[in-house]
């Protein structure tokens, strides 16, 4: 192992090591002082972030380590920062919430950190084996976390369902990897591309195509794209809300990191085959997610379908990357969209947690009158809902503008049309929340401890400010991605 190998995985080592240590230390922390564990988790995330940024700033990037298994480039850094930030916000949210719904156990934070390590690994995967490893590392803690509210039945059900379907999806992924290996005799992403480039006939090889298709199915499960979304509403509804909030953002970032890596680097030569398929999946995801969300009265289910729908918008960018000559641009739009999604979605979930009463799933109607009783929370939720709809001046609008542009650029006008029409549909259910908050009278109540209100304030400000000054972040996203795809 060389120094640069070491550097490339140092952030991962730090985080995983920290999480393992926390598992031990937590034994000595009394049950009433689990906030210390939370503080330690935050510290761990902060240290990891610092290490990551120091390596990125000082070392030569990109670092290709372990013979191409691990890559640390702009894409990795961008997504790792995003995942670490998401994790930090999740810890802040968890702090009081776990106590409130009576499931405060120290393992929560350890599991969270392990899952984050998995997501970070996913963003630096240069090999299908690492993709698989990362996927499992991020998923298994999430399975456990979903059942964290045991012995509540719906939480247990959620965990079991997530685990079974997740295992199933992993099976697809592994099978796809095996077939790909069979066709190209390698699992390295760049060498798969090289193998196809060296032997043009491979691009139409049924074995390789089947491999790519199965990988798409496996990752499609993880990002909850239609028709592999069935698990999402039940799992999201049953899991403790803090877990749902984290998983709806983190797992999606992980899944899309893998999709972009695998399909843009390993399979660009097969684009003619997978682009139309992904386009169809994207359109179906947007349509089904948004239409199904209309009918929901439980806010958790509504946001579950909404997060399905948002996967469709990111997939639109993946399509653009396959179809057009501007893969880097398309990928950066995907990454930017994910960032916007993370900010606004976490904020929305935080408000849901605030409104929720003792672990009972909140209805949309529970928000009635919030605009009169808790104006700050209502304002923030309004910003999140408008942003999720894609209305300016919010980051959600910029994100959509970005992916629509990528789609139109690559000739997928029809997909952009589906995108705008489904955005209109989504206005209906997002605005219902706004309507209930401001226009109906009720006893809307919210529990807002410091951690939660910090998260809500930060995300609301970010949603709004990044909607007005998106330039620097877009530039960062493009730098990260153009480098990645120039190398490939």
């Amino acid at each position: 192992m060389t120094t640069s190998d070491f550097n490339a995985i140092l952030p991962l080592i730090v985080l995983a090591g920290w999480a393992s240590l926390m598992l031990l230390v937590d034994l000595w922390i009394p049950k009433t002082r689990k906030d210390i564990t939370a503080a330690l988790a935050l510290l761990g995330l902060a240290v990891t972030l610092a290490v990551l940024l120091v390596i990125a700033a000082t070392g030569p990037t990109p670092i290709v380590a372990f013979g191409g298994m691990i890559v640390l480039d702009g894409f990795t850094v961008f997504l790792n920062v995003l995942v670490l930030g998401t994790g930090g916000l999740a810890v802040l949210l968890a702090l009081n919430y776990l106590k409130r719904v009576n499931i405060e156990r120290g393992e929560f934070y350890t599991l969270l950190l392990f899952s984050i390590a998995g997501m970070m690994m996913m963003a630096s995967a240069g090999d299908l084996i690492v993709v698989f490893l990362a996927l499992e590392t991020l998923s298994i803690p999430l399975y456990i976390l979903s059942g964290f509210a045991r012995p509540r039945l719906d939480s247990e059900e959620s965990a079991l369902k997530y685990f079974l379907l997740g295992a199933f999806a992993s099976g697809f992924l592994v099978y796809g990897i095996a077939l790909t290996y069979g066709a190209t005799a390698t699992t390295s992403l760049s060498q798969i591309a090289a193998a196809v480039a060296a032997n043009g006939a491979l691009a139409a090889d049924p074995l390789l195509l089947a491999g790519a298709a199965l990988i798409l199915v496996g990752l499609g499960f993880k990002v909850a794209a239609v028709p592999f979304h069935m698990w999402a509403p039940d799992v999201y509804e049953g899991a403790p809300t803090i877990v749902t909030a984290f998983m709806s953002v983190g797992a999606k970032i992980g899944g899309f990191a893998a999709l972009v890596r695998v399909f843009f680097i390993a399979f660009p030569a097969l684009a003619a085959h997978w682009t139309p398929v992904v386009a169809a999946i994207s359109a179906l995801t947007m349509i089904l997610g948004n239409v199904a969300a209309i009918a929901q009265s439980s806010i958790k289910r509504m946001l579950a379908y909404s997060s399905i729908a948002h996967a469709g918008y990111v997939l639109m960018a993946v399509v653009a990357g396959g179809a057009g000559t501007m893969a880097g641009f398309a990928a950066s739009s995907a990454v930017f969209y994910l960032l916007g999604y993370a900010v606004m979605n976490l904020g929305a979930w935080a408000v849901v947690m605030a409104v929720e009463k003792d672990g009972a799933a909140a209805k949309v109607d529970d928000f009635a009158g919030l605009g009169a009783t808790r104006i700050g929370m209502a304002l923030a939720m309004t910003v999140f809902m408008l942003s999720l709809t894609g209305l300016p001046p919010t980051i959600g609008f910029i994100g959509k503008f970005y992916v629509f542009r990528a789609a139109i650029d690559s000739g997928y006008m029809w997909l952009a049309v589906v995108g705008v029409i489904t955005s209109l549909i989504s206005a209906f259910y997002y605005l219902r929340v706004v309507m209930v908050m401001w226009m109906q009278s009720g006893q809307g109540e919210a529990v807002t401890p410091l951690g939660l209100s910090t998260v809500v304030t930060l995300s609301a400000l970010a949603t709004f400010i990044l909607g007005i000054v998106p330039g620097p972040l877009m530039a960062a996203a493009e730098r990260a991605l153009l480098a990645l795809l120039a190398k490939a």
Binding site: L424, F428, G471
Partner: protein, 505 residues
Amino acid sequence: MNVLFSTLTLVTFFPLVGVALLLFTPKEQKDTIRWIAVGASLTTFLISLVMLAQFNPADPNMQLVVRSPWIRIGSNWNIDFYFGIDGASLLLILLTTFLTPIAIFSSWTAIEERVKEYMIFFLLLEVGMVGVFVSLDLFLFYIFWEFSLVPMYLLVGIWGGQNRMYAAIKFFLYTMAGSILMLLAILWLGINVGTFAYTDILGKVPAAAQGLLFLAFAAAFAIKVPVWPLHSWLPDAHVEAPTAGSVILAGVLLKLGTYGFLRFNLGLFPEAAKQYAPTIAVLAVIGIVYGAIVSYPQKDVKKLVAYSSVSHLGFVMLGLFALNSQGIQGAILQMINHGLSTGALFLLVGMIYERRHTRELAQFGGLWTVMPLYGTLTLIVTLSSMGLPGLNGFVGEFAILLGAWGAGQPGAAYGSYAYAAVASLGVILAAVYMLWMFQKMFLGKVENPHNNGLADLNWREVVVLVPLIIMIFWIGLYPAPFFDLMSPSVTQLVAAIQSAAVALR
């Protein structure tokens, strides 16, 4: 020029100062809140007068331009913070900044609940509306366009009447349905022309692409205007909105649509405008007649006024697509006129509603004897709305009809005199339904005992109405200054359309 302290930036964003102050005012101090809102909007109006003074009427180009890069990344993005005005946008900004303080002042006693939020939303709405008129970057324009939707949605939904939620969501979804298509068209322009700046796109849109782009933009604007048959959101929103909301909705928000047609559909896609002119004229004329006929049997005064807007805006559309100087100038003036007259009508309806808590025509009658001052002012506004010579409505409608007549010549935009002829019918119909309303409300004997002893207008209500009445007389008697402001820009636009049409042949 310094971007932050230029006149246009100030006139657009000054209401935000009021919003900031309001945020730190305790919600119990309702009068302080009202004074802050009125003060902020009045100051904005004063700034817009400074803008008027700085404007050079002889120059047909964009003036007081503020431009600085906003989102520039490599060659992929070319979005500017780009403000500028010509004669048409100048007048519409003045209308906005003029009507907003009036509307806010008129809510003094009408809004008692959640005053703070109400005023905040109202000031945000003003930012959105003025922003639409000053933006010269399509991306920026779209942001203001969509942004203006949200405060209005909340105003209707929170402070509206019985059926407010339905009306609010209908208003929102209708408008958004149109604008998403425009978003795609804007994206297409940005990608294919390489910039989002209006003045850089001008004249560069390939004729072959203009048809679809025209339709995509028209979808957004036609719903907002509203052009028949896309008007069904309008009666709901107007009737349910609080009085001040109706004033702004009719006075300014509808003009966002007609302004969009003028600026983008005529400016950017002249070939397509020429091609679609007769189609739009048909819709406009149907709107004129339909709006008038439907107004007549309405039982609710507010609904009557709402439908009359469909008719009046039909005139504006007819004037715009006459594609000649008279028609377009008449249309711009009629936008202002409609803002003044219909705004005043909604205020008057609101005043009687505050007294009687009903708007049903059958409940009134003989009000003239009870409230002579109210009756006199209503008569003036009614006459202005139906286009009596000497008042503002006449000037606009007359110019539009002249324009439509000119466009009826063989080879001109419409190619048939029928449009002008049928539209003239609308003028007569307007007299019928407006006078019918006036007669039912004010003339005859007081039949309903509830109408006895109603208090006449108080000083606050008079203060609200007098500026509007002054403008109604001013434009009616001496409209020349208004035409002077817009005529150079309009002449330039018409010349561009004509030369594009020549190139088409």
